[in-house]
Symmetry: C2
Subunit: 207 residues, 2 copies
């Protein structure tokens, strides 16, 4: 059974094989570079529904150790400046072309979200950052799958700017917070064949 | 629209709302403590299908920075010994009752998988462990959702034994690898009401 999840046409499927339905959704999701994501983006209502799925991620200790920040188009210029300043901080010899490329990165996907980790602090729960990052990953995957179910493409981006003072200031991150990655979501402009995935024997063994 | 994903009965759903179908799967997944997971476990074929979903997680740099190890019942006694020794190492005053409780933890869910991080090394890719842990989280979530689609319950467990020399030796972890969490999967013996989830306004803001 295959299920075209990009189709807006009603299709009737027999859910006596719910794993096949889940597999169709999960395997349809693939990385789309932010450059290839255009309008339309999810509507406000769709975005709320998709982000709501993050709340169902596993969460050891019910800490909710992550949050998302929407970066609207009106703030992209400022984000580009933060990227450019972060580049200048770590490479004082960056060319104007490199600075422009850093700025341009902020202008790509029509929907841009920053995923922020609420890290452990001396006074906080004993649950370590490694587990908090796994929780964040689960939440991110739920969001990506929700976007995929609506027919939108997505891609994660990050880089050396994530820990820069400029980015931290722009997003008003608390001392215990860390910017982990951006979620880029939009309509795939030029679909690409899916990449080869690791085989089961590459990542599963039995003790 | 609600979709009872535990039902093995064929149900016809209109997939003109694929987000609702994804949301039904994702929100049906909740933590079940390993104590409340019993037989039957997924069959070998089901396990292969579910673990195959991990391969569709985002993977910056195609590093496949995680792997899973199945811990069969025949190895649970040995795992319990590793848990007990890890406890003794960090608390030389542990009582025999505490040691027995540590051992018993290895005997719970009928299907037990260890998720292992392949961490960054000085010679490896620049992609940091924080991103690798997010990838691992995405892979774990795909596995949990696959198990849920088949009607199985699941729960993640971890603890201070994860970094112990005894556990590392038992799983033959490479120096660059870290045991992150166990995935417990099985049939829910006593369903519980779902816990309250964070509200959107608790974890989403706009810049």
């Amino acid at each position: 059974m295959t299920l075209d999840l990009c189709s807006r046409e009603p299709v009737c499927i027999a859910t006596n094989d719910p794993l096949a339905a889940a597999a169709a959704l999960i395997s349809a999701r693939q990385n789309t570079s932010a450059k290839r994501l255009g309008e339309p983006a999810p509507s406000g209502q769709q975005l709320r529904a998709v982000l709501g799925l993050a709340a169902h991620a596993p969460d050891h200790g019910a800490l909710n150790p992550w949050r998302f920040v929407v970066v609207p188009m009106a703030e992209r210029f400022r984000l580009g400046e933060a990227f450019a300043r972060a580049l200048a901080d770590r490479d004082c010899g960056a060319t104007s072309q490199q600075m422009e490329a850093a700025r341009e990165k902020a202008q790509r996907a029509p929907l841009l979200l920053l995923a922020v980790l609420r890290a452990a602090t001396p006074g906080s729960s004993h649950i370590p950052d490694s587990e908090r990052l796994v929780c964040l990953g689960c939440a991110v995957q739920n969001v990506l799958l929700g976007a995929q179910a609506l027919g939108f493409g997505s891609g994660l981006t990050s880089g050396q700017a994530m820990d820069s003072a400029h980015l931290r200031a722009m997003f008003s991150l608390a001392e215990s917070e860390r910017a982990i990655c951006f979620l880029n979501i939009g309509t795939v402009q030029s679909p690409r064949p899916s990449r080869e995935r690791p085989r089961l024997e590459d990542f599963v063994s039995t003790l």
